[in-house]
């Protein structure tokens, strides 16, 4: 049992080391700085600049958080403070069901619903032409995917706020919303931050759903209607051909390493915040 425990825990280290080992060739040829900031993506010439892909990832992630965060906060406040328990009992299972839907289904939904929506109804108001395959589409699909994650964590954190604090505020004549704004949000802010950090890391790594709706064009997006090409999509899309071009595999493994490092750090940070929140309440 000890062996199995150690083995499964060491997967973290193994992944890091394995991916790093595989990216050594490309790291030897180009520096970290060049790899991260260059926009030249020409595998055949041995040029691997990840800047467009990093920007693609950042755009998509930022859009999804901007959409999801306010909606999820409002929803969590409604579920914990306003909703009668009858409605709460109906709502919570739906959030769970949403979290069970596989990424590829989100992708299909994005293609069938979000893409035409953007192409025919949203984009024409702002730009002359858009196919709909854009960072906006990726952001919307991702936002829906991270709804359950944010809502469930924020609800949990909100439920741990002592009732006395809220009662005190209400007794002083504050309205419910004022209580939420001045007491709950302030008290829950570490938990909310942790939820956002976790959601960001989830959004960073999401592959197939984003790949299906993002357009996958290796240029830096300049507006939400531009196509983008996030890192995970890059890895997934080029798997087949990577073996025939030297350094390509190494470069893709570097992309995976990059994702791994960022997500690893984000996860650790948010988990530590969440544990602190829990502890403070236990005390």
């Amino acid at each position: 049992m000890l062996v199995l425990t150690l083995a499964s825990v060491s997967i973290v280290i193994l992944i890091g080391v394995g991916l790093y080992y595989k990216s050594i060739p490309v790291l030897h040829k180009l520096s970290w700085g060049t790899l991260l900031t260059s926009s030249q993506w020409k595998p055949l010439k041995g040029l691997f600049g990840f800047f467009p892909f990093i920007m693609g990832t950042l755009w998509v992630t930022a859009i999804s958080i901007i959409i999801a965060l306010p909606l999820c906060l409002l929803t969590s406040f409604y579920i914990t403070e306003y909703a009668p328990s009858r409605i709460r009992k109906i709502l919570v299972p739906f959030v769970n069901l949403l979290s069970g839907i596989p990424p590829v289904i989100f992708g299909v939904w994005g293609v069938l619903f979000i893409i035409p929506l953007i192409q025919n109804h949203i984009a024409p108001h702002f730009v002359e032409f858009s196919t709909g395959y854009s960072v906006l589409a990726g952001g919307i699909v991702l936002a829906v995917m991270i709804f359950p994650l944010i809502v469930s964590i924020v609800c949990e954190v909100l439920n741990t706020i002592p009732k006395e604090l809220k009662d005190a505020s209400l007794a002083l004549g504050a309205t419910k919303w004022e209580t939420i704004r001045k007491v709950s949000i302030r008290k829950a802010s570490p938990g909310i931050i942790a939820a956002v950090v976790l959601a960001i890391s989830r959004a960073f790594g999401e592959t197939i759903a984003v790949l299906m709706v993002c357009g996958n064009n290796a240029v830096v997006p300049h507006s939400v209607f531009d196509p983008g090409y996030p890192l995970p999509a890059l890895i997934a899309n080029n798997y087949g051909e990577m073996l025939s071009i030297p350094m390509y595999e190494s470069a893709l493994m570097f992309a995976a390493l990059l994702l791994f490092i960022i997500i690893f750090l984000f996860n650790i940070i948010s988990r530590i915040i969440l544990i602190r929140v829990e502890r403070r309440l236990a005390a």
């Binding site: 425990t5 406040f77 299909v108 419910k176 197939i208 996860n267 988990r271």
Partner: protein, 281 residues
């Protein structure tokens, strides 16, 4: 006063709208999949493997992918259980009292849970290259096993924690060894194990990025671990990319199949876990 009242009502309405949007997105997704998928649904889809010319719209179904997915998700869940039951027991029974170690282990499993499937896919691919395994059912199962171990460990860990302390103490005081005590605990958490299995199976059957590099794709039902296997999500992905309308329709129908399977699994597991929490003290 009026301004405050207005503010209160404004935000209340906003909250209701946000809640409707979040809960509604579920119906929107499932609704879209049903609306598009049902017209293309037929018996051939789930009873036949792709025939000749399947990818230009001729007859056939996705039985190969359905069976492939069941193999991959099932195999990974079984392998994962073999690893995670001992791990969960070790964390809770043998390390109890060593809080720092236990907490660190829990954080590590949380982090592993957060690592995206594409990284597991890439890592699984590295392992396969290292051991000289080609894209096959075995490779797919291995990659998905890595993916589901954290889910299984976290779920089992939570379930074991709900077992009353007295039960452990009672069996220990009767002279049982820690291993014998663990067997008592395992019997107690049987429904919890089932929940964990369903969660892991649901995740395994729906994931693409981990099997993309590792399981390969094939029009036939795999008969050995070393043959490549099709998986349902990958079949959806490939078919959707086709310019042929018939094939795209099949992608919708396949998506419908996957959605129904996953919904059944999710509902089952939440019903089970509710029943389980009712039983526990």
């Amino acid at each position: 006063m009026i301004r405050r009242k207005l503010e209160e009502n404004f935000f209340r309405v906003l909250m209701v709208l946000a809640t409707i949007a979040v809960a509604g997105s579920f119906f929107l997704i499932v609704g879209t999949i049903f609306y598009k998928g049902v017209p293309f649904m037929n018996w051939d889809m789930i009873t036949k493997i792709p025939g000749g010319g399947f990818y230009i719209g001729k007859e056939g179904g996705v039985l190969n992918a359905i069976i492939g997915s069941l193999y991959v998700a099932g195999g990974a869940t079984i392998l994962g259980l073999l690893v995670s039951i001992p791990v969960a027991i070790y964390i809770n029974m043998y390390l109890s009292g060593k809080n720092f170690i236990v907490n660190s282990l829990r954080i590590i499993f949380d982090v592993l849970f957060g690592i995206p499937s594409i990284v597991y896919g890439a890592f699984g691919f590295l392992i396969m290259v290292y051991f000289g395994i080609r894209a096959s059912l075995l490779g797919g199962i291995l990659a998905v096993t890595l993916l589901v171990i954290p889910i299984l460990v976290r779920t089992l860990d939570e379930v074991i924690r709900t077992v009353p302390r007295e039960l452990r103490d009672a069996s220990l005081s009767l002279g049982a060894t820690r291993w014998e005590m663990s067997k008592v605990i395992l019997r107690q958490i049987r429904p919890g194990i089932f929940t964990a299995i369903l969660l892991s199976f649901g995740r395994g059957i729906g994931d693409v990025a981990s099997v993309l590099f590792t399981a390969g794709f094939s029009d036939n039902i795999p008969t050995s671990l070393h043959q490549p296997a099709a998986t349902l999500p990958l079949a959806i992905f490939f078919q959707l990319g086709s310019p042929v309308e018939e094939v795209q329709g099949r992608a919708y129908a396949s998506a419908l199949i996957l959605t129904i399977v996953v919904l059944i699994i999710t509902v089952l597991s939440s019903v089970l876990s509710k029943r389980f929490s009712k039983n526990s003290i």
